[in-house]
């Protein structure tokens, strides 16, 4: 604060501005420089373990499924899983931690950044990471005998779109749950999306009501349409192996208290019956895998 003239502010300010978007991405990149190694490590090691376990174990018993070799089958599955982990978890946990514990979003929103810009920048950042880290298992699978084809070049883009949907799904959930522990309902019973209950109750100082209200609206719309797209694109290829994973999901269910499990199931069945949760239902087939593991993404 010397006696030089103050910085001249631009006269017109638009609704969406590149500069706000860019600044949030720069912030994310700066943070990313601290955790890229661990993310890369898990993106390589996780599919390797899956391919070794299933390929050398179960794979010796099965030669092909639906005309695909077992390596092709499991390898592509790990891509879907990596995309899911790289997007839904940061969407849920990082967003929640930053909004409620670190209050980083409070700081950003006190600066000339609007909620729409923040949601757009955070969502696309997570999706970009999902696009890259979701494709690494594909490269790993090459070493297990998958033949590269030109069509595979589309995988990062499809992974980006799927990641965008899952990121917004996670961000939406992070505004719905009351406590971070409530995410357990989602991570162990995906498909039952209203896990944490509503946060609309009266609180003297909610962290940011704009995230609660406006964002919930926009995120919800984005999440549902992107999730639908994602469900169609990825599930179609991968969902054939839904049955073994549905078992996983049911085991996850069994860990919940019986009453909760029953009511959740009844509710889900009811929703499906009423045809309201077509999206949830479709998403269920591979989202069930969430319950199988935990993210390696550092929170924050």
């Amino acid at each position: 604060m010397t006696d030089t003239a103050s910085h001249t502010a631009p006269t017109t300010v638009r609704r969406y501005e590149w500069v706000a978007f860019e600044a949030i991405w720069v912030r994310e990149l700066t943070l990313f420089r601290r955790y890229w190694a661990s993310t890369t490590f898990s993106a390589i090691v996780q599919p390797t373990i899956y391919l070794l376990a299933f390929g050398l174990g179960v794979g010796t018993l099965i030669t092909s499924i639906n005309g695909l070799s077992y390596v092709e089958y499991v390898g592509t599955g790990t891509v879907a899983m990596a995309v899911l982990f790289a997007s839904a978890f940061p969407g849920m946990f990082s967003t929640f931690v930053r909004r409620v514990f670190q209050r980083s979003y409070d700081a950003l929103l006190a600066a000339p950044v609007d909620i729409e810009e923040l949601v757009l920048a955070e969502g696309t950042w997570i999706a970009a990471k999902a696009g890259i880290f979701g494709s690494i298992p594909l490269v790993v699978t090459f070493f297990f005998g998958l033949t590269p084809t030109w069509g595979m070049l589309f995988v990062p883009f499809i992974a980006f779109l799927a990641g965008l949907g899952w990121a917004y799904f996670g961000m939406w959930q992070s505004t719905v749950v009351k406590t971070i522990d409530a995410f357990t309902y989602i991570t162990s019973a995906p498909g039952t999306t209203r896990a944490g209950g509503s946060s609309s109750g009266a609180s003297p100082t909610p962290p940011d009501p704009r995230l609660g209200a406006a964002a919930r609206r926009s995120v919800r719309t984005a999440a549902i349409s992107a999730r639908k797209r994602e469900a169609h694109q990825l599930c179609r290829d991968v969902a054939q192996d839904a049955s073994p994973r549905r078992d996983n999901g049911d085991r996850a269910h069994a860990r919940l208290p019986d009453a909760h499990c029953l009511s959740e199931r009844r509710r889900r069945d009811g929703l499906v019956a009423r045809g309201r949760s077509r999206v949830m239902h479709e998403g269920h087939a591979h989202s069930i895998r969430i319950g199988a593991s935990r993210t390696n993404e550092p929170i924050g």
């Binding site: 003239a5 600066a111 009501p209 924050g300």
Partner: protein, 308 residues
Amino acid sequence: MATPPVETGPAIALTGVVKRFGRITAVNELDLDVSYGTVLGLLGPNGAGKSTTMRLLTGQTEPDEGTISVLGQPVPERSKQARLRMGVVPQQDNLDTELTTRQNLDVFASLYRIPRGERRKAVDEALALAMLTDRADAKVTELSGGMRRRLLIARGLVHRPDLVLLDEPTVGLDPQVRQELWSLIDRLRTEGVTILMSTHYIEEAERLADDVAVMSHGRVVARGAPLTLLSEHAGTEALEFFGTPDKLGRIEALSRAAGLPTRRTGPSVSVLRAESAPAALVESLGSGSRRAATLEDVFVLLTGERLE
């Protein structure tokens, strides 16, 4: 900052603002305006609505009723334009703890649209202002509490705002750090920056504020220069008595009968406007110690003695 704002009208104007959270009314028919280039101290007990008022000014909370204008812009409609020229120092530390001091400032330098070529200089100046130049490359987790608070303030000043909102800037800091921050705020004032500072440290408001607004239950119950408020509500002198609850009760009754306000201060009772007390009354009250009236007396008189 060096170029005085040419705007007419107040820098901040709230009219009939109401904000409810469920059944709690945090801000109740609030009217408040702050002129350009002045420092307004917003005084009030916890829960009086100070922080909600701050968040209404940044558009982070939307009012249920009333109108708000900040730097000539209607809020929340054109809040983003107002935020461009506004610096916000929150009560709660929300620095990026994984980043360094400089990186924290870099992010906000770009968020505040400082042109790329000028960012480095702006960040260096903010570091110097907060006396953190030699800790520029330290991670936030390595900084002391006082340094973190200084960084938080520097972050709100990196773009040389015309208006600064300080929410409890010195809460929880040791006396030395508080002095440092006070001189920093004083420096901003001499540069013509408009400051709205919420605090419940009376001394802070007395020293720094041109004008004080006392808030209670979501509205302003008194407004004026610290000295004016003093003479209006507490006079110039107070008599303070210690003793048993019975004795204190008797003193209170006698004083009130004579039309003098009193307030409890823990184990003692203070009779205000003591300078205007009749000699006979002073005689009957017994031996007390005479002291100057303080803004704290005004504060307690106006906002009530009991916690709610």
